[in-house]
Amino acid sequence: MFMLRTTAMLTLATLATGAYADAHSTTLKWARAGDSLTLDPHAQNEGPTHTLAHQIYEPLIIRDVTGEFEPALATDWAPSESDPNVWTFNLREGVKFSDGADFTAEDVVFSFERAKSETSAMKELLTSIVEIRAVDDYTVEFVTDGPNPILPANFTNLFMMDKDWAEANDVVSVQDIANGETTFAATNANGTGPYTVASREPDVKTVLEANPDYWGVGEFPLGYTTIEYTPIQNAATRVAALLSGEVDFIQDVPVQDLGRVGETGGLVVKTAPQNRVIFLGMNMGADDIERDNVDGANPFADVNVRRAMNLAINRDAIRQVVMRGQSQPAGMIAPPFVNGWTEELDAVQPQDVEAAKALMAEAGYGDGFTVQMDCPNDRYVNDEAICQAVAGMLGQIGITINLNAQSKALHFPLIQNGTTDLYLLGWGVPTYDSEYVFNFLVHSKEGDRGSWNPTGFSNADVDAKIVSLSSETDLDARNATIGEIWNVVQDEQLYLPLHHQVLNWGMTESVGTEVSPEDDPKFKHFSVN
């Protein structure tokens, strides 16, 4: 009896100390569908990888939850007054890497050189930079091949590494998978960020601990001392983990479970428009297309057909039925926070089947035609269901769709190789500027531009305007050109925008955060309610 009582007392005592410790440390258990692919911050240009890197490493500038610039390792930046080809960045002083080394201009020059190297995945964002110079320990100048007014927008996922650490661990260059290399930086990290890696098993679990020497202590909420990150691939399991209280915060909540999560006591779902527009593209440039039943002609070459298709699509129905309210019908391929977006351009034409049929008849396709539509089934929210809905709507104006829905690994090569006539694609704008959209989707497919434009659209005047954007320093003139290009895109009905995707984060009520449009939570902004 005595023994039993002693044991009970001991247990109570242990419990009490446990509770005491909890009051001082807070853990956030976080799950999303995928894991970061590598800890090397320049080896992958991909969402989940950048999200984890943001907790450990830092760029010069980041975006806050509203999408605005927020100083990180740079305190301020401006184009040089004497030379329009130079941007000057002033660095934050007194910042240390987690191994204790000081962060200086030398590290910035090194990191940018590394990110520009042949095997880096980030180099496409830095093509305009010809030289990076350290003026003194806390000032860096970027020299570009012409004036580049939107250069800072390319820096928000460009992380700073310590030069000495990289040299000591032989990771000066980015891992080259093709050569079968493995590197220290892929599994180890040394950043200036708010958290450090306590343990990591790829695809299983990553534990982050707060960095006690972080420069932003006191400046940011930093509500959590420990972050436990577990990828949970299966959507139903991920939701079950949140419902059962095993995790506190999940990304990628499936739309069909939003209601369920929101109705559960203690849980909330927060939504925000995502930086991604879903749209359809058509091969309008070819004389004849292969995957249709019209011989010797290409129905998509006629702007009336493209306009008819635009009128036939009922975007509100897609929003309500397919997306369960979780989308915002779109009229242009740019989310509202992108430079060049206007309410007018993004206005959606309501469905008008009669007008659409008239346009089809005018184009000589009054009896309709049959064509194949290619669609991914594992890339965007309910992508295959969207295609099915669109197929039904196009059927109303006589266009019979043979739907070919397949995995993204098979779908995207069709777009890259131009072996599709009608396809679904989603597009995000990481630079928050229309030039990015034009470079990839509107410019003729030649050289480094137009790599995602398999439509065959090619307009020398538009191409020249797109090229001029990269060096136009007069922002008003530049915005005017952007507006002109958008007008051509809309007039030509180059694409059929469907909707802006909406992001959903599910969390317990104690998690204090808003949804970031890039889908990349930065835990230093999180507070505990």
Partner: protein, 325 residues
């Protein structure tokens, strides 16, 4: 006996090579790994450079030969997705799958044989009938549905058991085990039931029908007439003679449990090789897919070989026939 085994090993190697060839001819239908390896801003030159460096432009027999040449020296390449050596990743993931398969197999075998014998002996009892009807559920419901149901009931509603993952594991240096921690053991329960349920009902039904067959035989009747106890008749004389088909099925099913743990592992986010394979397919991570498929086929071939040898050992008649031919 030795000649028999050598002949079987030789046949096994041919099967392995054939499986590899079929696998490599399929990879291009999975998609293009370049899509995942390079971001949306990639340039045409980068795509070509990487494609050439990875050998993706070679015809598939050449890719296969390169793979075999490297595999022969123990080098399975670097995972495109995780950028780490494939051998290291698989070694890291294998314990999770093997422990899950072991527990499921053990459950399936013990519960399956026990219930099989019970339902055969008490053929007309209500309990036996109830078990038989319930076993239909195990045979007919798809694995992912059973998994989701168990998660919903025991994880979300009752909150007794974890809904995902492997819990805390103990690292023994070359092996990580969930057997030594409470959360590890609790995490095993739902996935192992999900994975083993089909095999359990299969073994149970097999044992039952074999037992019913054997119990009708004359030697059982004579054994009863000799006044042997029911226990001795049922377990020593009857059960032993039902074992040959049960061993075959169990052997093959053990392979199936490991190979088809994919679905269970996906539903429960169990960090084993099955989940690794699913991720590899989605990413078109060819080195991982190739290594996994080869590993699984080696395992199937080995199990078949073992089963063949076990036959000879269990059934004396095969031994005598074997000597004469």
């Amino acid at each position: 006996m030795l000649a028999y085994i050598i002949r079987r090993i030789f046949q096994s190697i041919i099967v392995l090579l054939a499986v590899g060839l079929v696998a490599f001819s399929m990879f291009r239908f999975v998609g293009d790994p370049i899509e995942q390896l390079l971001g949306q801003e990639r340039t045409v030159q980068d795509v070509e450079r990487l494609r050439e460096a990875l050998g993706l432009n070679d015809p598939f027999p050449v890719q296969y030969a390169t793979f075999l040449g490297r595999a022969a020296t123990g080098d399975f390449g670097i995972s495109y997705r995780q950028s780490r050596p494939v051998a290291e990743i698989i070694a890291e993931r294998a314990p999770a799958t093997l422990e899950l398969a072991f527990v499921s197999g053990f459950l399936a075998l013990t519960v399956g044989i026990g219930l099989g014998v019970f339902t055969a002996i008490r053929r007309d009892g209500w309990a036996a009938n109830a078990i038989m009807s319930l076993s239909l559920v195990g045979v007919s419901l798809p694995t992912f549905l059973i998994g989701i149901l168990l998660i919903y009931v025991f994880g979300v509603q009752l909150r007794w058991l974890p809904t995902f993952g492997r819990g805390d594991v103990v690292d023994l240096g070359w092996w990580t085990t969930g057997f030594l921690t409470t959360s590890g053991l609790k995490s095993l329960i739902l996935p192992s039931i999900t994975l083993g349920l089909f095999q359990m009902t299969l073994i149970m039904r097999l044992v039952r029908s074999e037992m019913l067959e054997v119990l009708r035989q004359d030697y059982i009747r004579f054994a009863r007439a000799r006044g042997l106890s029911a226990k001795s008749v049922n377990f020593r004389h009857a059960l032993k003679n039902t074992m040959v088909p049960v061993i075959t099925v169990t052997g093959l099913q053990l392979g199936a449990i490991i190979a088809f743990a994919i679905i269970t592992e996906t539903v429960f986010q169990w960090p084993g090789v099955g989940l690794l394979f699913i991720n590899a397919v989605q990413f078109v991570d060819i080195p991982v897919m190739a290594a996994y498929l080869m590993l699984i086929s080696v395992m199937f071939v080995m199990i078949n070989l073992l089963v063949d040898i076990l036959y000879v050992w269990v059934d004396p008649r095969l031994r005598i026939d074997g000597r004469h031919t």
